[in-house]
Symmetry: C2
Subunit: 264 residues, 2 copies
């Protein structure tokens, strides 16, 4: 982490991403001055944890001395919020979305804009070591790029420049590696619970699976009945899932995909 | 690990599981005396690593002084091999399959039978710390149960008794947690490669995802566009996968399953 000039930051949003970034910025010596949330409630919960911040339900920050307004809200709410956002021309406005292009910020007339995308899964309940979280930066000018990189480097050692197209691909890859993987681990836990088996039984297997997949090409170390074309086991598994038709369909889609990737 | 009387062991099969077990048994002071493989080639590769073993293509072990014959072959070959297997009545025959019941061994008339299931993903190229691998034992008598548990405890600290039905459920859960998870990590790596992005970018995210899923209920920490019902992102992702129709179908099946699990 680099020591940098303390910045004055507004967070638009008080969800999982804003929650962790606000605390990381504060720990790095920046001042989070305002937190916007629609209802005000979650903004208040977050500002209670921050020394200088107050909650707000207004998106007009023209009278707030802010270096950076960071918009960390779901993509589905982004356009509506950006349309209402009001900042001074000196303020940098950046969003934190993996899938939204830089150009979505052209809504905000005359602002200096960029993207500040932390590639991590955040839940309010669990602390995250931000230092190793890649933060991917894009901006409409060299100057804004440098300012956002400086902010990122004050909380993380993994800062990179990346354009909108690459970020979109990265976000798609992250959905497979994180969101979808998490769901599969949820299903496996549900199967264990329904059979009265302790979930810890699978932990050594999960750890080894991940260690292997990170250090080798996962396709080359694929094991299990799908890649062995062990049809008896595959049929038995589909049969065992008959109480869960959605899991059956998923089992089939995953088996197809494993077998097809193997033919290439 | 417990120090036990050295056992004389025959391995039927020379694939990933046999490969790792044979070396673990040898390291624990047991004598692997023979390794069967159909062609003899893979059996020879494995016996080259073992001090006392010779390869064989015969399944008649009546003249081999073996305490235990461990059958570690794909389920699809199990019945054919068991039909040809010949052992003395004192020998214990055990298979290593997660999905096959104990009763599959009733093919072998007069033998003492059991199951010796190591819950791990094995690839020949990668060493595995067997000490923490759960080994799940089932047998047709208390005596065989104890002998197999003793053998298991000589290489692992995680030995448990489990019946055929629970083992089948455990194996199904393992397919989701390991085989399917590995495939998703493969897809995510492929997406990164096709965009010229380094795979290491996702490592902090993968590590955090797994750490979270092992210590909390994965369903309760699910993140991403599917659970947020962020239809614009979901549609954009399906569109981005248009060169990979199988991945598109899989993306849809996973999204459905995440959204359905969330409604319960």
């Amino acid at each position: 982490m680099k020591t940098v000039k303390s910045k004055s930051i507004v967070l638009v949003g008080a969800g999982n991403v804003a929650w962790h970034l606000a605390q990381a910025f504060t720990a790095a010596g920046h001042q989070v001055v305002k937190v916007y949330s629609r209802s005000g409630t979650s903004g208040e919960e977050l500002t209670n944890l921050l020394p200088f911040a107050s909650p707000t339900t207004s998106l007009d920050f023209r009278n707030t001395a802010a270096d950076i307004v960071l918009v960390a809200i779901p993509d589905s709410a982004l356009i509506t919020v950006l349309e209402q956002l009001k900042v001074t021309p000196e303020t940098i406005v950046a969003h934190t979305s993996g899938s939204q292009p830089l150009t979505v910020l052209s809504e905000i007339k005359g602002a200096r804009v960029g993207v500040f995308y932390p590639l991590q899964t955040f839940s309010k309940a669990k602390p995250v070591e931000i230092l190793h979280v890649p933060i991917l930066i894009e901006a409409d000018s060299k100057e804004v790029q440098l300012e956002l990189e400086e902010l990122a480097l004050s909380i993380s050692s993994q800062v990179q420049q990346i354009d909108s197209e690459a970020r979109k691909q990265l976000h798609l890859a992250a959905v497979f590696a994180c969101n979808f993987t998490n769901h599969l681990l949820g299903i496996s836990q549900q199967i264990l619970q329904e059979s009265g088996l302790p979930k810890e039984l699978l932990h050594p297997l999960i750890k080894e699976t991940i260690a292997k997949a990170m250090h080798q090409d996962p396709y080359s170390v694929q094991t299990g009945p799908a890649i062995r074309r062990d049809d008896n086991v595959l049929q038995a598994h589909v049969q065992m899932l008959q109480q869960h038709p959605t899991f059956q369909a998923l089992y089939q889609a995953l088996t197809n995909s494993i077998q097809e990737s193997d033919q290439k």
